[in-house]
Amino acid sequence: MTDNQNPISPHLQIYRWHISSLLSITHRITGIVNLLALILMFFWLLAFSLGESNYELFLLAINSFFGKFILIGFTWSMSFHILSGIRHLVWDMGYGFEIKTANISGVLVILSSLVATIIFWLLGRGLI
């Protein structure tokens, strides 16, 4: 009935985002970002093992405005991925599939990932 002449109906372009779909794609993206964070940690170790001048250069880089932005981003990405992962584990146990529950748990993941990022940095800076 149809061949390659037939167009494909629009999908991503027109479909409305829900909290659930937005969090699902964010979970994937943060998963990849976390891998980048891990790579940065290897560079940290590498700089450490290459001696003082290299390590100082590394510190200079991550203490710059851009460096801090990246580090805070990584902290959030890690927090989000872990919390969202817990949400997925609860789903895997068979709970939380009602639309209302899933929306609430989604908002909770977003808010608590932000709170966790703030707490991590305050703790790390010795401010609390």
Binding site: T2, P7, S9, Y15, R16, S20, W91, D92, F97, I99
Partner: protein, 258 residues
């Protein structure tokens, strides 16, 4: 390879504008996806001005009004108009639904109507669901018994066992859920999709069926079932208020604990 953008022949352009001729003050603009297989053109969006005071409550009523009064060439599937047959499934205001169940008063501003997403378009709002029907056939959606009984007798079911089918048997296979699922968009050939998996689960939990194990084994393919990443677009779109995401999760759980 997953293609997030539309191929060249599917890019949508602006179409015609059908101005209101009744002079009514209650005009709603309806943007509708059009594609005619007989014309060698890309799909386009036609805009119709519709007097909604002289129109029924549902989005399907608007489509009928346009077809009857403005443009008889507008093509869409519909039959029962009461949310039972599942023919008029389409994408209204960004979410897949049955147009006969969706009240147009719930939509602020213009109403955008597209065919079900990521399918081959046959004409206008009619899309090709043959892949989905083939997948439905593959799960063998009928009651199976191990050996032929010598006498034909009714297989009884307790009230409790019957309850297992609530929230599953109501499915009318309108395909709103499957075509709302990004995983089904990208892997529609391999992943069975929420509609078919909900049906698979419906036969697996039926106490009268005797091929539960074989059914479970068959559905357990890498992408067949595990293409589901709990995006939950399916449950969010189901016009019958069912929960395909939960059914799929129950299948995964069964396979993990059996």
């Amino acid at each position: 390879m997953v293609q997030f953008t539309l191929p060249k022949n599917s890019k949508i352009s602006k179409g015609g504008y059908f101005k209101d001729v009744t002079g009514s003050k209650n005009i709603k603009k309806i943007n509708i996806y059009r594609w005619d297989p007989d014309k060698n053109e890309n799909p386009k969006i036609d805009t119709f001005e519709v007097d909604i005071t002289q129109c029924g409550k549902k989005v399907l009523d608007i489509l009928n009004k346009i077809k009857n009064e403005i443009d008889p060439s507008l093509t869409y599937r519909r039959s029962c108009a009461h949310g039972v047959c599942g023919s008029c499934a389409m994408n209204v205001d960004g979410i897949n639904t049955l147009s006969c169940m969706k009240s147009h008063k719930d939509i602020n501003g213009d109403i955008n109507i597209y065919p079900l997403p990521h399918l081959k378009v046959i004409k206008d709002l009619v899309a090709d669901l043959s892949t989905l029907y083939r997948q439905y056939e593959s799960i063998e959606p009928w009651l199976k018994t191990k050996e032929k009984k010598s006498k034909i007798i009714e297989i009884n079911q307790s009230k409790q066992d019957r309850k297992q089918l609530d929230g599953l048997y109501e499915c009318i296979m309108c395909a709103c859920c499957s075509t709302s699922c990004p995983s089904y968009w990208w892997n529609g050939e391999k992943y069975l999709g929420p509609a078919v998996l909900l049906q698979a689960y419906r036969w697996i939990v039926d106490s009268r069926d005797e091929e539960r194990k074989e059914r479970l084994k068959k559905v357990a393919g890498k992408l067949k079932l595990y293409g589901c990443h709990t995006i939950m677009n399916c449950t969010n779109s189901c016009p019958k208020g069912l929960n395909p995401a939960k059914a799929i999760s129950s299948l995964k759980k069964m396979l993990a604990t059996n």
